[in-house]
């Protein structure tokens, strides 16, 4: 029915089947929208957050998706600036994912701040000392860059592209993409870093506080490195998921392995510094504030197992797997490493947001446990559903995968 909207030369399932699939994410989306409406109407008292945990699932989710969305800027940087041409086969997906991750994070933030209508104060009364100010500026600018990068993909839709003006417009945007990729890289690096910096400067919170270089605590650099060490493989995972769901080959395995190699290399660099950082923090910094390494952990939710899983199972292991050609060239091993890598970075973001503030710094204070409630889950899942919907539409109607026709020739 809608076949003349499909990209040139590809096959897609029938419209009823597609609509049936779209029902699932839509239900979740509506559930989340209901929660969001409640939150806007009654205030965020309806969530599981409290005075002890001002930051919770939402901020963890934001930080994690932003890290995983780093595939967009880093792949763009490699493709347009370092001219690694092979990446053109996956760059569209990386851009779309980046856009979804960032816009999703911004949607969550509108709920998360207590006074959404004052959100613009961040630009109007900026505090130059606050890392969050840097985040606010960079995130908005970078989201704009992502929109600019996304537009030509939309304009290449078969019917839209027939309109001469849109065709030329898209072409010009493409020609200048290196410029946008450059700006995007700069902005994204900075705010990935500032997100890390946000925690690293909290000198009242020994779990997160780090000394650093100039105004930037070490976490600034660690967050950038961990994001580029995981973003590219997240793109690979999503690509593979779409392949599995549609039963088509979309991107050559070589390209995926290359993305794995890139992420693996960055992950190795990250792990090197992360281990040094953790060591210096445990034996150097903590004693100066009278705390010990063991005091940083508690029970299961805040147990040491998290740290070791993050560093070893989801850090060193995938790093080694990804840089070893024979492992990387085996699809199931590559995907396993990619999953571990993404879990690792998510654990990192979780402990920095939740564990950091769960630790009782005053000796007579208690550990508190934070459990997100349905309203936080619903809204976070809403963002995932939004991503699934947009991605499905893009896959169906936009020429996202340049290799699709060639790879699926019978």
């Amino acid at each position: 029915m809608d076949s003349n909207l499909f990209p040139e030369g590809v096959k897609r399932c029938g419209l009823p089947k597609f609509l049936l699939w779209m029902v699932f994410p839509t239900i979740i989306l509506l559930w989340g929208a209901y929660a969001a409406a409640k939150i806007f109407y009654y205030g965020i008292g309806v969530t599981g957050l409290d005075n002890y945990f001002g930051f919770g699932l939402w901020i963890t989710f934001d930080l994690a998706v932003i890290a995983l969305g780093a595939g967009a800027f880093f792949t763009g940087f490699l493709k347009y600036i370092l001219k690694i041409d092979q990446l053109k086969n996956i760059i569209n997906l990386a851009v779309i994912l980046g856009f979804l991750c960032y816009s999703g994070a911004m949607l969550i933030l509108t709920m998360d701040i207590g006074q959404p209508i004052r959100a613009w104060f961040g630009y109007w009364h900026p505090n130059v000392h606050s890392m969050l100010t840097e985040v606010i500026f960079c995130i908005t600018c970078y989201c704009t860059v992502l929109i600019i990068e996304f537009i030509p993909i939309i304009l290449e839709q078969k019917q839209l592209n027939k309109i001469p003006f849109l065709h030329h417009f898209a072409h010009h945007l493409h020609v200048n993409m290196a410029l946008f990729a450059g700006i995007g890289t700069f902005l994204s690096t900075f705010h990935q870093g500032s997100l890390g910096g946000m925690y690293g400067v909290m000198f009242g919170r020994p779990y997160a506080f780090r000394e650093g270089f100039f105004i930037w605590p070490w976490t600034f650099f660690l967050f950038v490195l961990s994001a580029v060490g995981s973003g590219p493989v997240f793109t690979v995972l999503v690509c593979t998921l779409i392949e599995k769901m549609t039963g088509k080959k979309l991107v050559e395995y070589k390209v995926k392995a290359l993305m794995g190699k890139i992420a693996g290399t960055m992950l190795c660099v990250y792990m090197f510094f992360k281990i040094i950082d953790t060591w210096a923090w445990a034996v150097g910094y903590l004693p100066t504030v009278g705390m010990t390494f063991d005091q940083m952990f508690y029970g299961n939710v805040y147990g040491q197992w998290l740290l070791w899983t993050e560093l070893v199972l989801c850090g060193i292991v995938p790093a080694v797997m990804l840089i070893t050609p024979s492992i990387r060239n085996n699809p199931s091993l590559l995907y396993t490493a990619a999953i571990l890598d993404c879990i690792g970075v998510s654990i990192n973001r979780y402990v920095f947001t939740v564990q950091t503030i769960a630790i009782p710094v005053m000796p007579f204070d208690n550990w508190e446990i934070y459990v997100p409630n349905w309203a936080e889950w619903a809204t976070s899942l809403m963002i995932c559903a939004y991503g699934a919907l947009v991605l499905s539409l893009c896959y169906r109607y936009l020429p996202v995968f340049p290799q699709e026709v060639k790879l699926n020739k019978k």
Binding site: F121, L132, M198
Partner: protein
């Protein structure tokens, strides 16, 4: 961030050994600062308790058990963790006297300051304040009420400082050199045991000037270096030992 020094440094000194944990300071704080009662107060982590009384104990079993009560307002840190992180300059420490201010109409409710403050001195308005049964008619006229969605905290009853200064002006005195006792926060006034003292630590005529030199005076978390303007006094070792984190081999 550079630390600012002021000619006046409003300081609170709490004698922990005198505090009976009655909670009068908490109640008077709620009343003075127009803090709405919570409809559902069972979740203590969602209530607004600018002044919170902690219960400490010596870790021993009965009959050797001892308890102490430690009231905790905002410490008005000399080197506050909450100020540099605020993206919109809604909280600052730049007024004579060194009270960390909180500008409610400016705050966007990001709660970064709450994450930064290890004393848990900041509170967020999770839900709309509700004033049951005509209680709104008894609100204090000198303090603003806050909408939901902003962070609030103790400000040493700053409006009382304004009043004291006004009185000084009308009596021809220097409003920046208030006599001892002219400016008293609500918690101090309500305390039945006289555990709380308050004044300008830099003014030798004020009682707190001497009190902070007491060998039993201490501040919470000195090692983190936030330089609080709230001091405590206790003659009991086990109380002082709980003021800061110390690794086992490095006792007082």
């Amino acid at each position: 961030m550079q630390q600012m020094e002021f000619d006046t440094k409003w300081t609170m000194v709490v004698d922990v050994d005198k505090c009976t944990g009655c909670g009068a300071c908490m109640v008077s704080c709620q009343a003075e600062n127009n803090i709405a009662p919570m409809e559902e107060g069972s979740n203590k982590l969602k209530t607004l308790t600018w002044m919170l009384v902690y219960e400490l104990n010596n870790g021993k079993e009965f009959p050797n058990r001892e308890v102490a009560y430690l009231p905790r307002p905002c410490m008005q840190c000399g080197h506050p963790a909450c100020v540099p992180v605020c993206p919109v300059v809604a909280t600052t420490k730049d007024e004579e006297g060194g009270i960390v201010s909180q500008i409610y109409p400016r705050c966007i409710g990001c709660r970064y300051c709450m994450a930064a403050c290890p004393y848990h001195a900041r509170y967020f308005g999770w839900l709309d304040p509700v004033w049951p049964g005509g209680m709104d008619k008894a609100l204090s006229p000198s303090t603003s009420t806050r909408p939901r969605g902003v962070v609030e905290k103790c400000n040493f009853c700053h409006t009382r400082l304004m009043d004291a200064r006004a009185r000084a002006r009308s009596e021809g005195l220097d409003p920046n050199k208030l006599p001892d006792g002219w400016y008293q926060p609500a918690c101090l006034e309500a305390c039945p045991t006289g555990a709380i003292s308050f004044g300008d630590v830099k003014n030798p005529e004020h009682k707190v000037h001497e009190l902070v030199k007491n060998p039993n005076a201490f501040r919470i978390l000195e090692s983190i270096g936030m330089d609080p303007q709230v001091y405590y006094i206790s003659r009991r070792d086990w109380v002082r030992e709980q003021s800061d984190n110390h690794v086992a081999e490095d006792k007082h």
